[in-house]
Symmetry: C2
Subunit: 62 residues, 2 copies
Protein backbone atom coordinates (compact mmCIF):
# COMPACT_ATOMS: atom_id res chain seq x y z
CA UNK A 1 0.00 0.00 0.00
CA UNK A 2 1.17 3.49 -0.77
CA UNK A 3 -0.23 5.57 2.00
CA UNK A 4 2.15 7.67 4.10
CA UNK A 5 2.73 8.42 7.75
CA UNK A 6 2.19 12.03 8.80
CA UNK A 7 4.65 13.61 11.20
CA UNK A 8 4.96 17.05 12.72
CA UNK A 9 8.46 18.47 13.05
CA UNK A 10 9.04 20.09 16.44
CA UNK A 11 12.50 21.12 17.63
CA UNK A 12 14.06 19.01 14.91
CA UNK A 13 12.16 15.88 15.97
CA UNK A 14 9.47 14.28 13.84
CA UNK A 15 6.49 13.20 15.94
CA UNK A 16 3.97 10.81 14.42
CA UNK A 17 0.52 12.37 14.01
CA UNK A 18 -1.33 9.72 12.00
CA UNK A 19 -0.17 6.63 10.15
CA UNK A 20 -1.32 5.13 6.85
CA UNK A 21 -2.80 8.39 5.57
CA UNK A 22 -4.60 8.18 2.25
CA UNK A 23 -6.13 11.63 1.76
CA UNK A 24 -4.72 14.92 2.95
CA UNK A 25 -6.09 18.39 2.23
CA UNK A 26 -4.26 21.60 3.14
CA UNK A 27 -6.69 24.38 4.05
CA UNK A 28 -6.12 27.92 5.26
CA UNK A 29 -4.61 27.56 8.74
CA UNK A 30 -4.95 23.78 8.98
CA UNK A 31 -4.37 20.40 7.38
CA UNK A 32 -7.06 17.71 7.30
CA UNK A 33 -6.28 14.04 6.75
CA UNK A 34 -7.90 10.64 6.75
CA UNK A 35 -6.19 7.30 6.84
CA UNK A 36 -7.02 3.94 5.32
CA UNK A 37 -8.72 2.91 8.58
CA UNK A 38 -11.11 5.87 8.42
CA UNK A 39 -9.42 7.82 11.22
CA UNK A 40 -9.51 11.58 10.65
CA UNK A 41 -7.41 14.38 12.07
CA UNK A 42 -7.29 18.10 11.50
CA UNK A 43 -4.40 20.07 12.91
CA UNK A 44 -3.17 23.65 12.77
CA UNK A 45 -0.16 23.12 10.59
CA UNK A 46 1.19 23.41 7.09
CA UNK A 47 2.99 20.92 4.86
CA UNK A 48 6.75 21.19 5.07
CA UNK A 49 7.59 18.40 2.64
CA UNK A 50 6.51 15.08 1.19
CA UNK A 51 8.98 12.20 0.93
CA UNK A 52 6.79 9.53 -0.62
CA UNK A 53 9.35 6.82 -1.24
CA UNK A 54 10.01 7.02 2.51
CA UNK A 55 6.23 7.13 3.15
CA UNK A 56 6.61 10.40 5.04
CA UNK A 57 4.65 13.62 5.09
CA UNK A 58 6.20 16.27 7.32
CA UNK A 59 4.14 19.12 8.74
CA UNK A 60 5.08 22.07 10.90
CA UNK A 61 2.99 23.94 13.43
CA UNK A 62 1.41 27.23 12.43
CA UNK B 1 7.03 1.90 -5.41
CA UNK B 2 5.01 4.51 -3.62
CA UNK B 3 5.71 7.68 -5.44
CA UNK B 4 2.77 9.67 -6.84
CA UNK B 5 1.85 11.41 -10.06
CA UNK B 6 1.39 15.16 -9.83
CA UNK B 7 -1.49 16.77 -11.69
CA UNK B 8 -2.75 20.30 -11.99
CA UNK B 9 -6.52 20.78 -11.98
CA UNK B 10 -7.64 23.23 -14.66
CA UNK B 11 -11.30 23.67 -15.60
CA UNK B 12 -12.14 20.45 -13.81
CA UNK B 13 -9.55 18.44 -15.76
CA UNK B 14 -6.43 17.00 -14.16
CA UNK B 15 -3.36 17.48 -16.37
CA UNK B 16 -0.25 15.47 -15.60
CA UNK B 17 2.70 17.64 -14.55
CA UNK B 18 5.26 15.05 -13.44
CA UNK B 19 5.01 11.33 -12.78
CA UNK B 20 6.64 9.17 -10.12
CA UNK B 21 7.31 12.08 -7.77
CA UNK B 22 9.23 11.25 -4.62
CA UNK B 23 9.85 14.62 -2.94
CA UNK B 24 7.58 17.64 -3.05
CA UNK B 25 8.02 20.90 -1.16
CA UNK B 26 5.38 23.64 -1.02
CA UNK B 27 6.99 27.08 -0.86
CA UNK B 28 5.45 30.55 -0.85
CA UNK B 29 3.93 30.98 -4.30
CA UNK B 30 5.23 27.73 -5.76
CA UNK B 31 5.62 23.98 -5.41
CA UNK B 32 8.92 22.21 -6.12
CA UNK B 33 9.12 18.51 -6.85
CA UNK B 34 11.59 15.84 -7.90
CA UNK B 35 10.78 12.39 -9.17
CA UNK B 36 12.54 9.05 -8.82
CA UNK B 37 14.30 9.65 -12.15
CA UNK B 38 15.83 12.90 -10.91
CA UNK B 39 13.58 15.16 -12.98
CA UNK B 40 12.72 18.41 -11.20
CA UNK B 41 9.91 20.87 -11.70
CA UNK B 42 8.83 24.03 -9.93
CA UNK B 43 5.48 25.53 -10.74
CA UNK B 44 3.38 28.42 -9.47
CA UNK B 45 0.71 26.43 -7.73
CA UNK B 46 -0.52 25.19 -4.39
CA UNK B 47 -1.50 21.71 -3.20
CA UNK B 48 -5.22 21.07 -3.49
CA UNK B 49 -5.19 17.50 -2.16
CA UNK B 50 -3.22 14.29 -1.83
CA UNK B 51 -4.84 10.95 -2.67
CA UNK B 52 -1.97 8.59 -1.99
CA UNK B 53 -3.72 5.25 -2.41
CA UNK B 54 -4.58 6.50 -5.92
CA UNK B 55 -0.98 7.81 -6.33
CA UNK B 56 -2.29 11.30 -7.04
CA UNK B 57 -1.23 14.75 -5.92
CA UNK B 58 -3.52 17.48 -7.20
CA UNK B 59 -2.31 21.08 -7.51
CA UNK B 60 -4.08 24.23 -8.61
CA UNK B 61 -2.66 27.31 -10.27
CA UNK B 62 -1.96 30.36 -8.16
Amino acid sequence: MCEANVYIRRDGQDQLILESVDKLVPEPGQVSMINIFGQQKTIKARILELALVDHKIILEDL
